[in-house]
């Protein structure tokens, strides 16, 4: 057990030094000393609780995607039927229960209608996205398939992630992490953010801009009571517009959505000094907007942002240049945010912040400083205790401990892992288990010596007998650590990472390395007695 051939010695030392060296770049940068740029520099990521920053978990409303998709299908079908020659008349359109159903006024049109609608039923992929059903030869029912809904949600989430990325880039923060998680969630991590409030407001805004005609047939009393005439829907006024608590009935279809914008900027209207957002449509959007305003001169239309009416001005003349100005009692800041949100595109689905963790940069730095001080005092105390108790063997254990910390940091840097505040507690546990391994070995050597074994035999027995308990204990801890990592969330994961990696490094340093050193010393000094 104490025999180490040359190749084994070289291999062990090589591995130890290589892993320990991997920790150096992180240590150098964290103490403010530079690290030469031409050298490879694996780095440990600092968690947001240490570095400061914001973690946001955003969740999309899946049902909104389905509802939007249904409305789009309704518009497409109406458009198709209208433009068919001869025109196919439909009625009794309903989108209840997540399905689109309508009646053909003339049952003879059924084959023509089917031929027109059928191509819409296939998605971009090979999967069928809608099922088409004909009841009594006259009623058509379009039901979205599960794979269709899933695909739509997936597309919406991909697009939403991209929009979130563009918005955060507009804020000019560095190295944000934006990843999709599960079916309906996006994780956003922005290190070193000064104002998490602005970020939340920006991401919380769907920025779904709509222009819809006001339904003038609606009775004001009914509108206030929330009863919409057929084909219309009711939206509340946005707070701060001077018409808080009031509602507006608008035509459900035939409006324009603000998807086709090329630019949006915040500005001030020189006439009344109000904050405004100027928008510019692309060619297609401009054409639609021109058509809507030309056909409805003299009528009011509502500008709706995220389900709230900003204003409902009269269309005085057709707006043909593809430019428009939105007023809505903005502050300078909110006008700016809306401009950013509109520029980066509307979110295809509303997102809500379901978890937020923000840490100011001061607190993070303070945590690191305090954590380091505590670890230094703790390490000194442990080292003193080990040396006072086990003498030379305590020195070996101490050196092993230093390598243990370096190797643990090195592995974390190489695998690009993240160190969090609970991770620091994990470090202490790791140091504890490394020390425990040496305590087990050394106590066993003491025992074997007390029983009268010779030095070499006692040391061999010490490593062999203690090894069994060390492996069992570490393996069970490994199982617990893996369970922690798989099922744990947030801070628990950060702790588990250090714990699991630490088990490997502490067994390696506390058992294998100390044995190498003890064997080297025995070979050179050939002691008849040892102080332990």
């Amino acid at each position: 057990m104490l025999e180490f051939p040359l190749w084994k010695k070289l291999w062990l030392w090589g591995l130890t030094l290589a892993l320990a060296a991997a920790a150096l770049p992180s240590l150098f940068t964290s103490t403010g000393l530079g690290w030469p740029a031409q050298l490879p520099s694996p780095q440990i990521n600092l968690g947001l609780d240490l570095a400061g920053g914001s973690h946001l978990l955003l969740e999309a409303k899946a049902e909104d995607v389905a509802a939007q998709r249904l409305t789009n299908m309704e518009e497409s079908v109406r458009q198709l039927m209208r433009s068919a020659t001869p025109r196919i008349r439909i009625g009794d359109v309903s989108t209840a229960e997540g399905r689109l159903s309508f009646i053909l006024e003339d049952a003879a049109d059924i084959d023509r209608a089917r031929g027109l609608i059928e191509p819409l039923m296939m998605g971009t992929g090979l999967q069928r996205e809608w099922d088409l059903q004909v009841i009594d030869g006259q009623r058509m029912v379009l039901t979205p398939t599960q794979s269709g809904i899933d695909a739509a949600l997936n597309d919406a989430m991909d697009a939403a992630t991209e929009v979130v990325r563009r918005r955060i880039d507009e804020l000019g923060t560095r190295e944000p992490t934006i990843i999709r998680q599960g079916d309906t969630r996006i994780v956003v991590q922005v290190p070193g953010l000064e104002d998490p409030e602005a970020l939340k407001n920006l991401l919380g805004q769907t920025a779904q801009l709509e222009f819809k005609l006001v339904d003038l047939t609606a009775l004001p009393a009914n509108v206030q009571a929330g009863i919409a005439p057929p084909g219309s829907e009711i939206f509340p006024y946005a707070p701060g517009t001077g018409r808080d608590g009031q509602f507006e009935a608008v035509r459900r279809l035939g409006g324009i959505r603000g998807d086709n914008l090329t630019d949006a900027t915040a500005g001030v209207d020189p006439q009344d000094n109000q904050n405004v957002v100027n928008i510019a449509f692309d060619t297609q959007g401009g054409a639609k907007f021109a058509k809507l305003t030309r056909e409805n001169v003299g009528k009011p239309f509502a500008i709706i942002l995220d389900g709230q009416v900003l204003s409902a001005p009269n269309i005085n003349e057709p707006i043909l240049g593809g430019r428009a100005q939105i007023k809505g009692s903005f502050t300078t800041e909110s006008a700016n945010q809306l401009a950013i949100a509109l520029r980066s595109g509307a979110l295809p689905v509303p997102l809500e912040v379901v978890e937020e963790r923000s840490v100011g940069p001061d607190l993070g730095a303070d945590s690191i400083r305090r954590g380091l001080i505590a670890m230094m005092i703790g390490s000194l105390a442990v080292i003193t205790l080990m040396m006072a108790t086990y003498g030379r063997f305590g020195v070996y254990a101490t050196i092993a401990l230093v390598f243990n910390v370096l190797i643990l940091l090195g592995i974390m840097a190489l695998l690009n892992m993240t160190l969090t505040l609970p991770g620091i507690a994990g470090f202490v546990i790791t140091i504890g288990s490394a020390v425990d391994a040496n305590v087990l070995i050394n106590e066993r050597i003491r025992e074997e010596r007390a029983r009268g074994r010779k030095v070499i035999a006692a040391i061999e027995a010490g490593y062999r007998e203690a090894g069994r308990a060390i492996y069992d204990a570490n393996f069970t801890n490994f199982i617990a650590g893996v369970a922690l990592f798989i099922f744990g969330a947030g801070p628990v994961k950060g702790f588990a990472v250090v714990l699991v990696v630490g088990l490997f490094s502490s067994v390696f340093t506390a058992v294998t390395l100390t044995r190498l050193w003890v064997a080297g010393w025995l070979r050179k000094a050939r002691p008849n007695d040892i102080r332990i």
Binding site: K200, E352, V354, A469, D472, A473, T476, G481, G488
Partner: protein, 325 residues
């Protein structure tokens, strides 16, 4: 220089002499802990019940205006807030749970957070926001399930491993000792009303790891002695095994303690609960390894014959695996 010896070589403490009273005491402690958990309840953090927690520093004051804050935030209409000093005297944590019925509204927690921060900033211009956690009811529910699952999975997995490596009695004994440690730690949090957060779950898993470590070291020695001293009565054998490993137990606990105490005193405030739990678990775990894990083996009928057949085969395999066969 003479080397330090914390436990003299001739130490022979009759631990199991009072095994039964201690065991009854342990059971009472477990029952008491659960009673405390059920009557006092755990002071769950926002991780588990949702809501928001904001940490603030009042830069121009020596003392944070805690009563005023309580009144101010309480006046927002979200129920009674928990306002506590956090770290230095001019730093506080303000915790507001989700109001009744808001568990299903995803944005509720964020909205409360925004309003709390805004109103404190308005009334106390020197308040600096150091950190803010808001967790919606749905996410909190997921954390709750994950935490319970992680704890159960870890306890079950390690017990199965010990069962395979030793004997079924050892697996049950270890599981019982772990149950004891987890219960008492929960009891501590129920009595002190320290915040029970996700970090505390991590701490409990660390305790499980440590206590298990201790139990395995003693079990390993029991197994070894069972093979060595075939005629020795079980009670004597347990005492012998515990005494033989006592130096190690004391030394390991002490080193962990000297590493943990500085973290408790000088460490960041946000780690206090976690480190306090681990420190407490250190004592509980050591105790349970001696007084729960051991005696249970006797009552479950472990004798020197338990290892004769299987163990020689297992030993051979182990040696083969280590390349010494």
């Amino acid at each position: 220089m003479k080397l330090l010896k914390l436990v003299p070589d001739s130490t022979n403490i009759r631990f199991q002499k009072y095994g039964v009273p201690f065991f009854i005491f342990s059971i009472l402690m477990i029952v008491g802990s659960w009673a405390a958990v059920l009557t006092n309840g755990l002071n769950f953090g926002v991780d588990f019940i949702g809501g928001q927690e904001v940490r603030m520093t009042f830069e121009e004051r020596a003392q944070a205006p805690i009563p005023e804050l309580r009144e101010l935030v309480g006046g927002l209409g979200y129920g009674e807030p928990v306002v506590q000093e956090f770290g230095k005297p001019n730093q506080v944590s303000i915790r507001v749970p989700l109001p009744e019925g808001a568990e299903e509204t995803p944005g509720a927690a964020t909205e409360i957070g925004n309003r709390v921060i805004a109103s404190v900033n308005k009334n106390f211009p020197d308040a600096r926001t150091d950190g803010n956690d808001t967790v919606s009811g749905k996410v909190a529910g997921e954390f709750r399930n994950q935490a319970i699952f992680a704890l159960l999975a870890a306890m079950a997995a390690v017990s199965i491993y010990i069962w395979v490596r030793f004997e079924w009695q050892f697996g049950v004994g270890a599981m019982f000792a772990l149950f004891h440690d987890v219960s008492l730690t929960m009891g501590l949090f129920a009595i002190t009303q320290m915040e029970f957060s996700l970090q505390i779950v991590a701490a409990i898993l660390a305790i499980i790891g440590y206590s298990l470590n201790d139990t395995i070291v003693i079990y390993d020695r029991i197994r070894e002695n069972l093979k060595k001293y075939r005629k020795m009565p079980m009670i004597e054998l347990l005492d012998l095994s515990v005494n033989e490993t006592l130096a190690r137990t004391v030394m390991t606990s002490l080193t962990l303690l000297v590493a943990l105490v500085p973290l408790l005193i000088f460490g960041p405030a946000s780690l206090f609960g976690m480190v306090a739990a681990i420190t407490f678990g250190l004592f509980v775990g050591t105790y349970s390894s001696v007084y729960m894990a051991g005696p249970l083996l006797i009552w479950m009928g472990v004798t020197s014959n338990s290892f004769v057949q299987q163990e020689t085969a297992a030993d051979r395999q182990e040696k083969l695996a280590r390349g010494e066969g």
